[in-house]
């Protein structure tokens, strides 16, 4: 008997075949009923997106427009459904934002369009869609990703907001300062809550860390995670700043030092997570300048000139409000005289910008979804049994 040559390992093409009648089950098992925790723990977090794209590839390969149309609509409706069903669940929203963005990137990377081929390997170029142009579906997916992103931001803001004013303004962690208060020694607390069960700056940092690690675990592209972090920092800065505008008791040199300290904690957090370049710290500049204004000397003409020059992020109404609200913490310090306020105003006459007092905490930076190709080789991907997709055939 001729020596049997060892069977050549089957060369997979990076597609997944399914029968039309299994489409509903595919959408249900890989989208609507999928538990993010299970996927994240033992497989690539954006594997659902790759699996769905490998199914798209096969329908395209068959040149079957009805099958492909039905699949794309099923994917879009499925993601919409799971996002609506879990619109308050931070984990699900983060998971599906990450996977929607990954699928969108796959549709671009393998569209065959020149602009998306630059970083593809020769093999990836070979895996481009052959028959159909899905640019219209990409637009719908892109709009869907924007909706999911804003819903995710809303949930994170809701979770973070209770900690902002107590953590950034009210709680005093600075030892030297707190002893100035007549209420005696105050224990330095590092726990999430101190003895009075109030939030501290650590509460804010821990919440940010929880968001950031979850998004990273869900395989979220760094360009999107950075935008989310920047938006949250804007909320922290604007919310804290507005409190200073509203509360005289927050307008003291001591509070200025406390805010400055908390801003450095936030800056440190950005460094630890390599997020310094995301623009988050810039969103705190109005708050940082208000804190500086609370600490700086406010009596001579030179002081007035410097204030007008340094407070570039504050408008005259805000500067005057802080100066008029300034409350010395003890009898040695003088209040800010009205003549000093007039001196400052004289240096601000050419100012022509907006003059609103409060910052808009609902303001949203425009989200962008830059093209992020993946180096993943589709032909190497295998469907784990834990996803209950036995009816898919690897091609």
């Amino acid at each position: 008997k001729a020596k049997q040559t060892p069977a050549l390992p089957k060369e997979y093409l990076g597609m997944l075949e399914y029968k039309r009648e299994d489409e509903a089950r595919l959408i249900q098992n890989i989208i609507t009923d999928l538990k993010p925790k299970g996927v994240v723990v033992n497989v690539i977090p954006t594997l659902p997106a790759f699996i769905l794209f490998m199914c798209v590839r096969h329908a395209d390969y068959l040149n079957d427009d009805n099958k492909l149309k039905s699949l794309m609509n099923g994917i879009i409706q499925g993601v919409k459904k799971v996002v609506v069903a879990h619109h308050k669940d931070f984990e699900s929203l983060s998971f599906w934002l990450s996977n929607t963005y990954r699928l969108l990137n796959c549709l671009k990377q393998y569209s065959g369009e020149e602009q998306f081929l630059k970083q593809s390997t020769p093999r990836q170029k070979k895996n481009c869609l052959q028959n159909f142009d899905l640019s219209e579906h990409r637009q719908i997916l892109s709009d869907l990703a924007i909706q999911i992103y804003h819903q995710l931001i809303s949930i994170m803001q809701k979770m973070l907001t209770p900690a902002i004013v107590p953590g950034m303004l009210e709680h005093e962690s600075l030892q030297g300062i707190s002893s100035m208060k007549p209420t005696g020694f105050r224990k330095r607390s590092s726990s999430l809550y101190n003895d009075l069960e109030t939030y501290t700056i650590s509460s804010i940092l821990q919440e940010l860390s929880m968001f950031y690690s979850a998004m990273s675990q869900h395989g979220m592209e760094q360009s999107l995670t950075k935008q989310a972090v920047k938006q949250l920092f804007f909320l922290i800065g604007a919310t804290t700043f507005n409190q200073i505008m509203l509360r005289k008791d927050m307008c003291s040199c001591r509070k200025g030092m406390q805010i400055r300290c908390n801003i450095s904690y936030l800056e440190e957090w950005l460094k630890e997570n390599e997020l310094q370049s995301c623009g988050a710290i810039d969103t705190l500049r109005p708050l940082a300048q208000a804190a500086w204004l609370l600490q700086v000397n406010k009596s001579t003409n030179e002081d007035a000139k410097e204030i007008a020059e340094k407070c570039t992020e504050l408008n005259p109404v805000q500067i005057v409000k802080i100066l008029n609200s300034y409350t010395p913490i003890d009898d040695f310090e003088k209040r800010v005289t009205s003549s000093f306020v007039r001196q400052v105003q004289s240096f601000l006459q050419e100012y022509e910008g907006a003059t609103q007092l409060m910052l808009d905490t609902d303001y949203r930076f425009q989200v962008t979804f830059p093209f992020c190709p993946s180096s993943t080789a589709l032909e190497s991907l295998q469907v784990p049994s834990s996803l209950h997709l036995e009816f898919l055939t690897r091609i």
């Binding site: 427009d65 794309m72 609509n73 409706q77 052959q130 219209e136 579906h137």
Partner: protein, 31 residues
């Protein structure tokens, strides 16, 4: 590799109205 360099056919995506209808019909189907 692509058999011929003929352009890909644009696959028409559903309009907003059609998508609305799909969601409604799905809600009616689901138990």
């Amino acid at each position: 590799p692509r058999p011929s360099l003929r352009p890909r056919v644009l696959l028409k995506a559903p309009t907003l109205a059609e998508m609305e209808e799909m969601s409604i019909s799905e809600e009616e189907d689901s138990p």
